[in-house]
Symmetry: D3
């Protein structure tokens, strides 16, 4: 078990080093297993496989979370995308691409979330 | 106007040469403009930009359509992904990654759709 | 109680005279109350009010069911829309309008559903 | 009519005695009938039937609202679940179970909502 | 190109004169093309066609955005509906009608959004 | 690892003994890990915990899958619910309860799915 947890944490240290602790703190007094599941399932079982590189994985997760309208997780994965080497303009481009599949309301909501992340990291304006 | 249409068609000839006509045939006696919008908006305005390559775009669209549960469009974009050079194992990996964000029911449904496309193209079994 | 049921049935006789019985038949040996709820709640409580006319109501329901991706109910309400005087071209136009809010996959799916209904009623091609 | 309303209110006095008035106050100057529908339809027609006990009903509603991502109603039904005798650990367990069907983003969002309700009622930490 | 943009802006000046600039300001330093797409695609290509009047279009969009749970865009289109001549009571009625198709949680959320818009415009209470 | 798999299989032998093999067969030549994840994650990590009994868990899953509109998985969990001792009338009641939270279209679709399962198992008509 420890092994799976450690494996997941090693990926999270690459993708989200700044807020790696927050999900444990958030759920320690209500559902610590939920935080453990997040580390052990997606990060240990999936993100560790080298079929697809982390950059492509994070852009695909940005696409999925934009489609789902899951704004807090989207912001966290926009940070993850930046941390594994995606340029802001690539993230913007993928969110914009989603407009064809989900329409403008959810796309606009996701772009505003991206803007907040970029602003906080002093990455505005976004240029090619 | 012609220009935008031609530009979109030039991408569709790369991503979906085999079924490029089907959406026009489907809607010619009810809503020809809807088919035109698909060519002119996502394909002409978005897929033509070189910020992100077509392979990454198609994988992100596979992620979005899996999340959305839009099976017929998903199958068409799995074909598109193959046509721009994605390996079956990469498509499988991205669908599998979605399980963390959308749960197993929609992931299973999307994987079955991928299996149908691969079967038809004699691409089973999928190996790394 | 009878009163509410009768009131709902009087609307259904206008909007869906041909398949008014099908929901009762479908659920009589499993959940007859569910069929009763459909008659008594939306049709008796809502569709009977004259704030909005039946034509506008049915177009708004077409918009909602297209957005929801609920194809069997969508087909039934496309029939309802025709029965209260909507022209096929208006129904097509509202489905097409949805593309901006929900993207192309669900819009295309809804348009194909409309085409099936119109074909069965010999209403193709749709012209202004 | 009075009868249906009274019947629904008698259940609401059990499940949500503290905020029974809020939906009427919220909508009295815009859509009083919407508040009436909530009392008369789910509470009078459905929750009064004894096929399934209130505890199981509330847990199933927690499952549905977690799946839907409807946070304000979820909080209200977490209170309802507590009021009909569910232990916090059962509510946490059902939300956690949802991760398999809807993925982590919506599950995390629902767990944070549960934490807010439990905190306000001094029910943290949650133990078995 | 200019032409399509101008055409879209001419509709937006009717439906949303007060906040026509906000989407450009919001995205000018991150994704100006997304703002352009909104003007050029739904407003220029769709809302300009006279098959369906603007009042019906806006009510159908209110129905769709209520179904989608897209609250900021919903508020903007409730304003749009008022600006093209819909009475508050019609908007309320269409939101209420949605309860049959999407259930109470999303309907309640949309009605609260409508209440905020009406309050800001001093349109409460809503009467027939 | 073996342990987690065995633990999950021991629950699946109770809930779905008849179709325990089908997910492995379905995905063996495309994504065998996806089948393994389903056994190891929800069944091993969640369904084995005794905070909530299997009957309540399956009814909550029926509620979630009805809300999600995931019909093939819903049918499989209706079978699961029957296998752990739920009466058909309880399953019907929970699906009916969902109408308040998700509206009639998805509820009707789920009830038709339940009817198919019950018919195949000769459990119609459903009585209290």
């Amino acid at each position: 078990m420890e092994d799976r947890f450690e494996k997941g944490m090693s990926i999270l240290k690459i993708t989200n080093p700044d807020n790696i602790e927050s999900i444990f703190t958030e759920f320690e007094d209500i559902a610590p297993d939920l935080a453990r599941f997040v580390v052990e399932f997606p990060y240990s079982e999936i993100y560790t496989r080298d079929t697809v590189d982390l950059k492509t994985r994070e852009l695909c997760t940005v696409a999925s979370l934009t489609t789902l309208g899951a704004i807090p997780e989207l912001k966290s994965h926009i940070e993850g995308a930046l941390n594994v080497g995606c340029r802001p303009t690539e993230i913007v481009e993928i969110i914009m691409q989603m407009s064809a599949y989900i329409g403008f309301p959810r796309t606009i909501e996701a772009m505003s979330a991206a803007k907040e992340v970029f602003k906080q990291k002093d990455l505005l304006p976004v240029n090619d």
